[in-house]
């Protein structure tokens, strides 16, 4: 929705004397690290996030050695053993005329722990595989978005003039486009086709398509505050002083503007990633995100849509996975913001 993390972050102007050896002295980064280490919330949420990542990376191991299924092949005629008796994964309906089949519900055993989806695939295994894709897409699109937003925002703010005019108007225009409608539009045009950019080829159904789309739609929300920050920095005393000393613009950009803007970018990162996870799931839910047979938390939610009343676990599990991951990212992001921006922490 229109919701976006949009707080201006203000770090105290970097100590102009902290030129060469920012990392080796007790610089601002050291303080940030100490702040994070000193916060139980940050440490616990970071640890749990690492656990989630490890769990999703272990998906092949789980699928092969615990669940013993291929979560990408439909298992409509598969049978599993429960209490020594073979049970079909797709069960005949016992109600009404007995027509139609319902996938098996949660067994809470190693096989089909969370039940099967409409194609008889193991939901638990797909949840882990889907997590890989959801996290990969969210992470990559976050990096992409921050990168583009930084370039656009700094170019607009630092160069000013005509460049600023064009870029700012473009940002405003994309801003006026509802995020979801823009993302859906881009997806529909891009998905299901192959592209070739010189030596690179993007095959249809590639994860690069959702990464590009999700990475692009939030650019205005980040680029705008970056531009504002650069405009303010341009007027700051230490940048003026650097100019007065005759330092080249490139060096001012690299030494003074970029380090100060980077804190804004870092504050955005966890919140943007959280937002991207939700966006991915929404697009996949509308079937314009990750394309089958690839799994993501959003596609599992879409699979579960028709089974909502008979097998709610197929919808419940990925939704909870999204909620927990986003919650942890936001908790971590809150601490990170307070550490990077002492002004907002003062009130707590």
């Amino acid at each position: 929705m229109g919701a976006s993390p949009e707080q201006e972050t203000a770090l105290p102007p970097a100590d102009p004397s902290a030129g060469e050896k920012v990392w080796s002295r007790r610089g601002p980064w050291r303080r940030v690290l100490q702040g994070l280490l000193g916060s139980p919330t940050a440490m616990i949420s970071a640890a749990l996030l690492v656990l989630i990542v490890i769990a999703t990376l272990l998906a092949p191991v789980y699928a092969k050695h615990v669940a013993g299924t291929d979560p990408f092949r439909s298992g409509l005629s598969a049978k599993i053993k429960i209490d020594g008796k073979p049970v079909p994964v797709m069960q005949q309906s016992t109600e009404g005329l007995g027509l139609g089949v319902t996938p098996i519900g949660p067994t809470w055993g190693p096989q089909y722990m969370l039940g099967a989806d409409g194609q008889g695939r193991d939901v638990a295994a797909r949840l882990l595989y889907g997590g890989q894709n959801s996290l990969l897409i969210a992470g990559a699109s976050t990096v992409l978005c921050l990168l583009i937003a930084a370039i656009v925002g700094i170019a607009a703010g630092y160069l000013g003039g005509a460049v600023d005019g064009v870029l700012s108007n473009l940002i405003d225009m994309i801003w006026a486009f509802p995020v979801y409608l823009l993302a859906i539009s881009l997806s529909i045009v891009m998905i299901g086709k192959s592209y070739a950019f010189g030596p690179f080829e993007i095959s249809s159904g590639s994860l690069i398509v959702p990464i590009l789309i999700i990475g692009l739609v939030y650019v205005p929300y980040v680029a705008r505050p970056i531009r504002g920050r650069v405009l303010a920095l341009n007027q700051s005393e230490f940048v003026m002083a650097a100019r007065g000393l005759g330092i080249r613009p490139g060096r001012i950009l690299w030494r003074h503007i970029l380090p100060n803007v980077s804190t804004t970018l870092i504050v955005f990162a966890p919140m943007l990633m959280a937002l991207n996870i939700v966006t991915e799931s929404s697009l996949s839910f509308l079937s314009v995100g990750v394309q089958p047979p690839n799994a993501s938390w959003g596609t599992i939610l879409q699979d579960g849509q028709t089974l909502l009343y008979s097998r709610p676990m197929v919808s419940l599990a990925p939704g909870l996975a999204i909620m927990v991951t986003v919650l942890l990212l936001n908790l971590f992001g809150d601490v990170l913001r307070d550490v990077l921006d002492p002004k907002s922490a003062r009130g707590r």
């Binding site: 929705m1 229109g2 919701a3 108007n169 405003d172 225009m173 801003w175 006026a176 486009f177 509802p178 995020v179 979801y180 409608l181 859906i184 539009s185 881009l186 529909i188 045009v189 086709k193 592209y195 959280a274 939700v278 799931s281 929404s282 839910f285 509308l286 314009v288 939610l301 849509q305 909502l308 009343y309 709610p312 919808s315 419940l316 939704g319 999204i322 909620m323 927990v324 986003v326 919650l327 936001n330 908790l331 002004k343 907002s344 003062r346 009130g347 707590r348």
Partner: protein, 323 residues
């Protein structure tokens, strides 16, 4: 003042024109999306595609196509759908608008009340259990995809519990116009309202709480305290009043985007035939005229919301008038 308003209006028109061009280019001029081939369907013969192209005027230069579409959309208003031939676009959008408006305005009332109450309560008891409880719930609300919340709500109200006393009053999914049956309209909208509002209560509550707490650092709060004002007066009359400006700005933007069709996920989950769902369905079958109309409709609300918010800010905060 008149010049300011005029330039504002001009800017609105320019932005909307830009959006219409971007949309047009995305769908008509992307190299891999041949609208004629899309309309003709999969595996259509080359002759069929050519016939369709001629039939729909897709063989003309792009700017002619654009001009014709705009003329038929705004002046003659007889633009028809590519997907359902004969369906007129303007009446279809007009028919979908009330459903979206009902959904969003009802939810907006709830989330503004809920968000402001949450923010003030949490700020007043900050660090203690009401604050922790409310902020915990708000974080959860922000962390859940809205369509998933909707599904879970449906699971509770439409499934097994539907026949119990608690939820038997909830009608089946779908939208009933207010003019048809006000009671049914209300009962069918209660849960969509709550679902949509939940997310925004979380967002607004968190933001207002942070704003109030930040405002407490300001000098004028210290002055108000020094004057001997009660804590309640300082909180409500001074801190909240100043902290609410960003909330008003955000509300204007969110309301505009949602009325324009961004509530698509809520509409899909609850089976409400609103503008969002109309847009989504048009996008799925690449019904280009419908897409153009709904996207322009959406951008209109966003642009208007932007302008209204700017004006409101001038009214609330005299400091902004100088700029």
């Amino acid at each position: 003042m008149l010049a300011a308003i005029l330039s504002r209006l001009l800017r609105m028109v320019v932005v909307m024109f830009g959006i219409s061009v971007i949309t047009f280019l995305i769908f008509f001029a992307t190299p891999s999306s041949d609208p004629a081939a899309r309309i003709a369907g999969k595996n259509a013969a080359q002759e069929t595609i050519e016939a369709v192209r001629k039939d729909f005027g897709l063989d003309r230069p792009l700017y002619v196509q654009y001009g014709l579409m705009m003329k038929r959309l705004f002046i003659t208003r007889d633009l028809t759908s590519f997907a359902n031939r004969g369906q007129q676009i303007v009446p279809a959008v007009a028919a979908a608008a009330p459903a979206t408006l009902s959904l969003v305005s009802g939810a907006a009332v709830l989330w503004m009340l809920g968000g402001i109450l949450t923010g003030i309560t949490a700020a007043a008891w900050r660090g203690r259990w009401p604050d922790k409880l409310l902020m915990g719930i708000s974080m959860m609300a922000v962390a859940m995809p809205v369509f998933w919340v909707g599904e879970m709500v449906n699971l509770i109200t439409q499934n097994r519990l539907h026949d119990t006393w608690a939820f038997s009053w909830v009608p089946a999914l779908g939208y009933t116009p207010f003019s048809q049956d006000p009671g049914l309209w209300f009962r069918s909208m209660v849960f969509p309202w709550l679902t949509l509002a939940f997310l925004y209560i979380g967002l607004y509550g968190r933001m207002l709480r942070t704003g109030i707490i930040e405002t407490y650092q300001e000098d004028f709060i210290r002055t108000a305290r020094a004057k001997g004002l009660t804590g309640r007066k300082v909180l409500l009359k001074h801190a909240t009043r100043s902290a609410i400006i960003p909330i008003v700005i955000m509300f204007g933007m969110d309301f505009g985007v949602l009325v324009g069709g961004a509530a698509v996920l809520t509409e899909v989950v609850f089976g409400i035939n609103g503008v969002g769902r109309l847009t989504y369905q048009a996008l799925k079958v690449l019904d280009l005229p419908m897409i153009m109309a709904t996207v322009l409709y959406a951008s209109f609300f966003v642009v208007v919301a932007n302008a209204v918010v700017d004006l409101l800010c001038l009214l609330i905060d005299p400091r902004m008038r100088r700029a």
